[in-house]
């Protein structure tokens, strides 16, 4: 499971004045649960997910992945996490199969296990036609499939997915959603960010709304609908932004 406590991240800004990307985030994601992080561009979604994935260190606060604190045991944490974001691209000069072999080895898997798992993923994700092609010759959808395969290769109990369906066609998006649901059935803890509200409605058990680095609300879909008197996440989000602005003034 994932647990975050008062996570805060500041970056060095101009003239030594720090820029706060995430103010204070506290939440948990349980096994078998999909937690959706919704927010506009620049809200702090990616920064928050990168802290969970130990790519960056929080300025203050802590988080735990499967009972390991991320700032104390970053390597152990990464062993249990599959992290995908717009910044986790693939090596263009490696073939899809070579790439999976490389990452499998970095995750400490044996070559036999990698070959077997690659075969499974290539079949279910329909990747066989392009396994021997270099990644820089693949289409966007094919690249995202290889990325998903990289994330799932070592079968991690925690998945941190930052906009996994961004820019994909309907077919590929559907395939990726199926994978997320499958992981949920296998009791994985999944946190994913998106700004497609319909996608969040289809997948999430609980939703966190993030705006200007702050988590404005966090509840089940039904809880959020009831609180705002609406029936879709799109209106829920707008209602909370309005409340947030009102509270400020």
């Amino acid at each position: 499971m994932i647990r975050a406590q008062d996570l805060r991240k500041e970056f060095a800004g101009p003239r030594g004045v720090p820029v706060v990307a995430v103010k204070s985030a506290t939440f948990s994601v349980y096994p078998g649960e999909i937690f959706g992080l919704l927010g506009p561009n620049g809200a702090g979604k990616t920064t928050l997910l990168r802290m969970l994935a130990t790519i960056i260190r929080p300025t203050s606060g802590h988080c735990w992945i499967a009972e390991d604190r991320t700032d104390v045991w970053p390597q152990r944490v990464r062993q249990h996490v599959g992290f995908l974001s717009g910044n986790t691209k693939l090596y263009g000069r490696l073939k899809a199969r070579e790439l999976l072999l490389y990452f499998g080895r970095l995750y400490g898997m044996t070559d036999d296990a990698i070959v077997q798992r690659t075969e499974e993923l290539a079949t279910t994700l329909d990747m066989k036609p392009f396994m021997e092609r270099r990644c820089d010759t693949l289409s966007t959808g094919q690249v995202q499939k290889v990325s998903i395969a990289r994330v799932l290769l070592h079968d991690p109990p925690v998945l941190i997915l930052d906009e996994p369906t961004l820019g994909l066609d309907i077919m590929t998006s559907a395939a990726i959603r199926d994978f997320i649901l499958d992981a949920k059935r296998r009791q994985h803890s999944i946190i994913f960010s998106t700004h497609y509200m319909t996608e969040a409605e289809m997948l999430c058990d609980r939703v966190g709304l993030i705006y200007s680095g702050e988590i404005m609300a966090m509840d089940t879909k039904q809880g959020l609908y009831a609180d705002t008197g609406t029936d879709n996440l799109h209106d829920v989000f707008l209602a909370y932004v309005a409340r947030h602005a009102a509270a400020r003034t």
């Binding site: 970056f11 060095a12 101009p14 003239r15 030594g16 990168r50 994935a53 130990t54 790519i55 960056i56 260190r57 390597q75 152990r76 944490v77 990464r78 062993q79 996490v81 992290f83 974001s85 717009g86 910044n87 986790t88 691209k89 693939l90 090596y91 263009g92 000069r93 490696l94 070579e98 490389y102 990452f103 080895r105 970095l106 995750y107 400490g108 990289r150």
Partner: protein, 680 residues
């Protein structure tokens, strides 16, 4: 570090790089195509041009009253034609003629009169065919001159040998091989070093900034491996590619030169070029830490860049800077002195030259290998530090400010240990490169420049720039009376004890004569008045060296080291700054004592006073003017103890030790008073 992971990353990076055309061009294309093209084709073109000039007929115009005679002489010379020209000056200027020769007086008449006739040759020195024409004209005239001289001597009945006391023959004993060896020794290290740089250039960028730009770095960082493993694998790949490029270049160069030489006429000299096997071994051995050093620095620089292009513009200046020390080998007069053995890159270039041209003893080889290894380790350590910084490694998305504006630094009470080490290293480098030079050139002013320009100003500037509170960092606060007095008493005891230590050191590690003379030159400084010497040699170091060592260095390390490591660390730094094995021990020990005083009193002033007292004692004892005014008994006592190296009698030493101990006691009581005052 996990070796298995390092090798996995290394293998992938090599595969990745070998699929990159730019790397292949730098590694194989340049050496395999460029050298043969440059050297062989270039040399053949030059040869062709030379032959063309040698084969061509020289066309000259003849002028003056007796041009018929002159024409007769010239036409006897092969490949010489005489032209008739309306405007010979214009024809010469426009290249239709190669020279104009004129003879005004009648040679037959000058022969009879025994006078000298004047011949004028006008030619174009910038034109090779014109030069060739002059050579041919001179040959013709020389032959004629000899004939005429012979006739003249016959007229007065003197044998030809009379005006020719000796024949001189010059014979060059340096073989073509030796000459070639010298040229190779000058050029090859330069090319090798630059090629190592070129070899590391693209891999260093590609595996750091390139990876950031392509967005794959974060993918790698999301795997359960440490940043050291990533650095290790990537560094190994850059290093291997740099070495491969270096060696391909070496092989290609050697091959090209061998081919060139085999084409030369005296092909016997080719077999004479003999570079001993051990020289080649040493070169390859020295190449390893050098490639290590260059790769690590290039990676450290490149990782700061956000993109391939930015990395290129950051690294190109480094590649150019690399040229200067590398080119030293080609400058006559530079040789592998003890100082040069420590200068990175230059030491390799000079060693390379020596290995190719002469026999080299083990000492410089070991020093060059050792110092290059130390520099390489430092560079790698620096790279490792940089790789752990997320703001650098992930700078592609939110940007890393490379500006070092003063306003960006946070105000601090004391410098960080890193800042303290930086200041120390900066001053040491300045001292090494500029200080030793100015001191050698302008003895007294050299010391003044060193103290204020190399120790004091850089220290103050760096602290000010990094917004460190000077009062705190330099312990600029008044001590208690007993602290002040304690410092002075310690100095009095230590002055005698250190003199005794120097006598003992002299027995174990005698001062070399040169150094003794140098010291005498510095401390005696001939006829300078005593007050000037005290000002320069005692007061200035007491202020400047204290600000650097007991100020910046001490306050930076204070919180991070246990007390004994602090005393010996700062003492050692002080000793190292005197750049001499013979002075390091004693000055180092004095450094420990001074550090103790400042550390315990919490004020730099007792340290300055003690430093002034210790240095003054040394200045006064070695000054001839002071010696002349000394009571005779004291003088002979000191002579016996110091000059004749008998040391002080036990009671003097015991007295000094008691004085020293009471000083320590005074400082400690002042400390206790301060602590109890604080507690109240």
């Amino acid at each position: 570090m996990n070796l298995r992971i390092v090798i996995i990353i290394f293998r992938k990076e090599i595969l990745d790089m070998l699929r990159d055309k730019r790397t292949l061009i730098a590694m194989l294309g340049l050496p395999l195509i460029l050298y043969p093209a440059l050297f062989i084709v270039g040399a053949q073109l030059a040869l062709m041009q030379q032959n063309k000039v040698a084969d061509a007929r020289s066309l000259v115009a003849v002028a003056g009253a007796h041009k018929d005679i002159l024409e007769g002489w010239l036409l006897k010379t092969p490949k010489m034609g005489v032209a008739i020209s309306d405007d010979p000056e214009l024809d010469l200027a426009e290249g239709r003629l190669q020279a104009i020769v004129s003879l005004e007086s009648d040679p037959a008449q000058t022969l009879e009169l025994g006078k000298t006739a004047n011949i004028l040759i006008r030619y174009d020195a910038t034109d090779t065919s014109s030069q060739e024409a002059v050579k041919r004209i001179m040959e013709a005239l020389d032959a004629r001159e000899k004939e005429m001289l012979k006739s003249r001597l016959e007229i007065i009945g003197i044998p030809g040998d009379f005006v020719n006391p000796y024949d001189v023959e010059r014979r060059n004993v340096a073989s073509g091989a030796k000459y070639t060896g010298t040229v190779l020794g000058m050029l090859m290290p330069l090319i090798m070093i630059v090629m190592l740089g070129v070899g590391a250039f693209y891999p260093a960028i590609n595996l750091t900034a390139g990876e950031k730009e392509r967005g794959t770095f974060e993918t790698l960082l999301s795997t359960p491996i440490s940043s050291f493993d990533i650095l290790g694998g990537k560094f190994l790949a850059v290093f291997v590619l740099a070495m491969l490029t270096g060696l391909t270049n070496l092989a290609s160069m050697v091959g090209t030169f061998a081919f060139q030489l085999s084409q030369m006429q005296d092909s016997a000299s080719v077999s004479e070029i003999h570079i001993p096997a051990y020289s080649v071994l040493v070169i390859v051995l020295a190449l390893i830490p050098l490639a290590f050093f260059i790769s690590a620095i290039m990676m450290s620089i490149a990782v700061y860049a956000k993109s391939f292009q930015e990395a290129q513009s950051l690294l190109t200046p480094f590649l150019l800077i690399l040229l200067f020390p590398a080119a030293l080998a080609a400058i006559p007069g530079f040789h592998l002195s003890v100082t040069m053995q420590l200068v990175p890159i230059a030491n390799f270039a000079l060693l390379f030259k020596d290995l190719v041209t002469q026999k080299v003893s083990a000492q410089p080889i070991v020093m060059v290998l050792l110092s290059t290894t130390v520099y390489a380790s430092l560079a790698l350590y620096m790279a490792a530090r940089i790789f752990r910084r997320e703001d650098v490694v992930l700078s592609h998305d939110h940007g890393l400010s490379l500006t070092l504006r003063r306003s960006q630094f946070v105000k601090r009470d004391v410098p960080t240990p890193g800042t303290a080490l930086f200041i120390f290293t900066l001053c040491l480098l300045l001292l090494f490169y500029a200080g030793t030079y100015v001191q050698g050139k302008y003895a007294l002013w050299g010391i003044v420049i060193t103290q204020y320009g190399i120790f004091l100003l850089p220290t103050l500037f760096v602290l000010w720039y990094l917004r460190v509170n000077l009062r705190n960092a330099l312990s600029l606060r008044l001590p208690s009376g007993s602290g002040f007095l304690g410092g002075l008493v310690i100095a009095a005891g230590w002055a005698v004890m250190s003199l005794q230590l120097s006598v003992w050191q002299q027995r174990i590690l005698p001062f070399p004569e040169e150094l003794a003379k140098e010291m005498e030159r510095l401390t005696g400084l001939g006829d300078q008045p005593v007050w000037v010497l005290l000002l320069v040699l005692a007061l200035s170091p007491a202020i400047c060296e204290e600000i650097l060592f007991r100020g910046a260095v001490l306050s930076g390390l204070r919180k991070y080291l246990p007390w004994w490591a602090l005393l010996f660390g700062v003492g050692l730094a002080f000793g190292i700054a005197h750049i001499s094995i013979h002075r390091m021990f004693l000055t180092g020990m004095s450094g420990v004592v001074l550090t103790y005083i400042v550390w315990r009193t919490g004020s730099i002033y007792p340290g300055m006073l003690a430093h002034f007292a210790i240095n003054s004692t040394a200045v006064l004892l070695q000054n001839k003017q002071v010696e002349a005014r000394m009571p005779e008994e004291l003088q002979s006592f000191l002579d016996a103890a110091l000059k004749q190296e008998q040391g002080f009698p036990w009671w003097v030493l015991a007295g000094a030790a008691i004085v020293f101990a009471s000083g320590v006691l005074l400082v400690e009581t002042s400390q206790r008073k301060a602590t109890s005052a604080n507690m109240k």
